[in-house]
Subunit: 392 residues, 2 copies
Amino acid sequence: MPLRFEIVAEDKATGARAGLLHTPHGTVETPVFMPVGTAGTVKGMTQAQLEELGVQILLSNTYHLYLRPGHEIIRDLGGLHRFMSWPHPILTDSGGFQVMSLKGLGRVTEDGVWFKSHLDGSSRFLSPERAVEVQCALGADIIMALDECVEYPASREALHRAVKLTERWAGRSKEKLSALSSQLSASEAQVTGQSPITNHQSQIPSPSLFGIVQGGVDKDLRRESVEGLLELDFEGYALGGLSVGEPKQEMYEVVESTGRLLPRGRPHYLMGVGTPEDLVECVARGIDMFDCVMPTRNARNGCVFTSQGKVIIKNAKYAGDDSPLDPACECPVCRRYSRSYVRHLFVAGEMLGAMLATQHNLHFYIDRMRKIRQSLVLGAFAEFHSRARAER
Amino acid sequence: MPLRFEIVAEDKATGARAGLLHTPHGTVETPVFMPVGTAGTVKGMTQAQLEELGVQILLSNTYHLYLRPGHEIIRDLGGLHRFMSWPHPILTDSGGFQVMSLKGLGRVTEDGVWFKSHLDGSSRFLSPERAVEVQCALGADIIMALDECVEYPASREALHRAVKLTERWAGRSKEKLSALSSQLSASEAQVTGQSPITNHQSQIPSPSLFGIVQGGVDKDLRRESVEGLLELDFEGYALGGLSVGEPKQEMYEVVESTGRLLPRGRPHYLMGVGTPEDLVECVARGIDMFDCVMPTRNARNGCVFTSQGKVIIKNAKYAGDDSPLDPACECPVCRRYSRSYVRHLFVAGEMLGAMLATQHNLHFYIDRMRKIRQSLVLGAFAEFHSRARAER
């Protein structure tokens, strides 16, 4: 099932674009920020609260769900949408990043990657085929091909090896998805007439597969990686292996030069990025999709994003501060609670502190993206961009 | 300011009643269950979620707020309602129960009780006067006189000493509140014309004070305690020192015999009780108000109340269970999520598990009380009561 991506506005000067991404579970307005729901939950948020904030698509982690509760359980319960009661679009990553970021646990071979479960130390294997299988069982709308994500800094040789391996794995992922899709169609034909309740899985259309560009901050390797993936023809293209420690300016340059090589008519996804500044800077470099744990993880540590910069809410100076987290913010938290109260919650170790900070930070990201998109639609992105730069 | 308590329906056979408790922050339908917001937050719930469940009044703990963030801070920020953004009624306990339940830390004298802060071990003193002062600074609608709560089992002598001390403390509490109220009226007269924003405290009316009946499971001592308090004339009467380990039947008997001695026109509050069964059994013994950590604390431990009894949600048998926590429940959690998902959240240690279980359990208590009240208003309490007994 092809993913339909429609560009509705474009900033000619930068190539920034506003689009509509039509998925089986609904349409996503791009550029979009995807909150991270690692284990099938965005930590500290109910699904209703996510909907209230206007979240249109979630990212969930294959690695975590594969280990717990297990993809078969989720498949048997009708897929991840139904399991977590999120009837809107979901993207799952391939698990590759988690496997490799748990240093020393992973061993990469041509076949795939061996790793030890962070839960019980058991030895597990993830191949490109397995990653596709697991993601299909989860029933995500968009799935990612397994890639080799290299640490920063890395030798050109290591980077090049990763580019080529990622390319071969991308090919195998695509083949596996085709095979599964044919099986699925065949079984769908068989079960015609069955109750939709006794056969959830048959209702889940096959997902759209994205390839992941690697190559570190080496522009030639990035080009080589893009070219390899273009030959395979994916429904979307992601930039992986960024925001892993490289200087910000190098990241922006890689995004810009690599972004130009990607087909205009397909969504461009920058994985694991980033700060509120990164959102606008990378939209200005042609990116349509983002995910990052920063708003949610920072929130749990009491670090709150505001129009005036970050606020470390545990700071003693907020003990008597009656103003909202961000006086310029209209989120449900800022409309109701004060800094003094949220500080008290954090100091007292109360769950509600993390809950409120998460809600606020996610609103900050979602709202920021909404404004970026609006400026694109109104043809005022250049102005928005320069104002955003001036405010820093 | 007198608390107006209106009885709107009464079950002649048992003395159970439905009422309206008019407080400065709104009217509470009784019988009522008050969720416990220990540190100015019901753990794992937003205030909006409490409102959605139909929560009409919260209990908050003087002991905890006194130690952190401190009652002066809350007073300076306009009182507890404003601090925690809960514009509805609040009852605060006196702190006595916490002081004495932290065993070995408290030393009771005629003056009051010395205790060590559970936060930093510092030595603190709470007298009846101080407890009233702190609760007035918090600005609760209903405050409790400091009492001596004795452990179960206790000698008759110890119980009798506590009854008499509690009575003398109740008298001192009342005097202190009168003195503060006159001061408050005087200062209100002075500040006339000031902006309401720069002077929150002046807007807070003086609270209604409840006395606490002690005497363990000794009916004669309970009678002596009631008689002492009646002479002092309180706006409401609470039964303290129950549900501390005594057999359930003894508790019910004490509630029944003591309840009969309390003035019909004043609210009767059973502190720290209880199970869903206790609610209906004690309403049947004339109780109007309840508080208990059970629904919220059990929820955080994964113990869920349902129409079929308790469900320990971490149990492996729920891993593939697609049904809601309670198939007979219409709460936001049961309408949206499955046992399998909530179990997964608990097993994975995700905050959302505790959040959803808390929401469900509170709904269970609030809804149970709503049904009890409805049966009283419809004159069908006897039927409700016997059906509730039959279901156990």
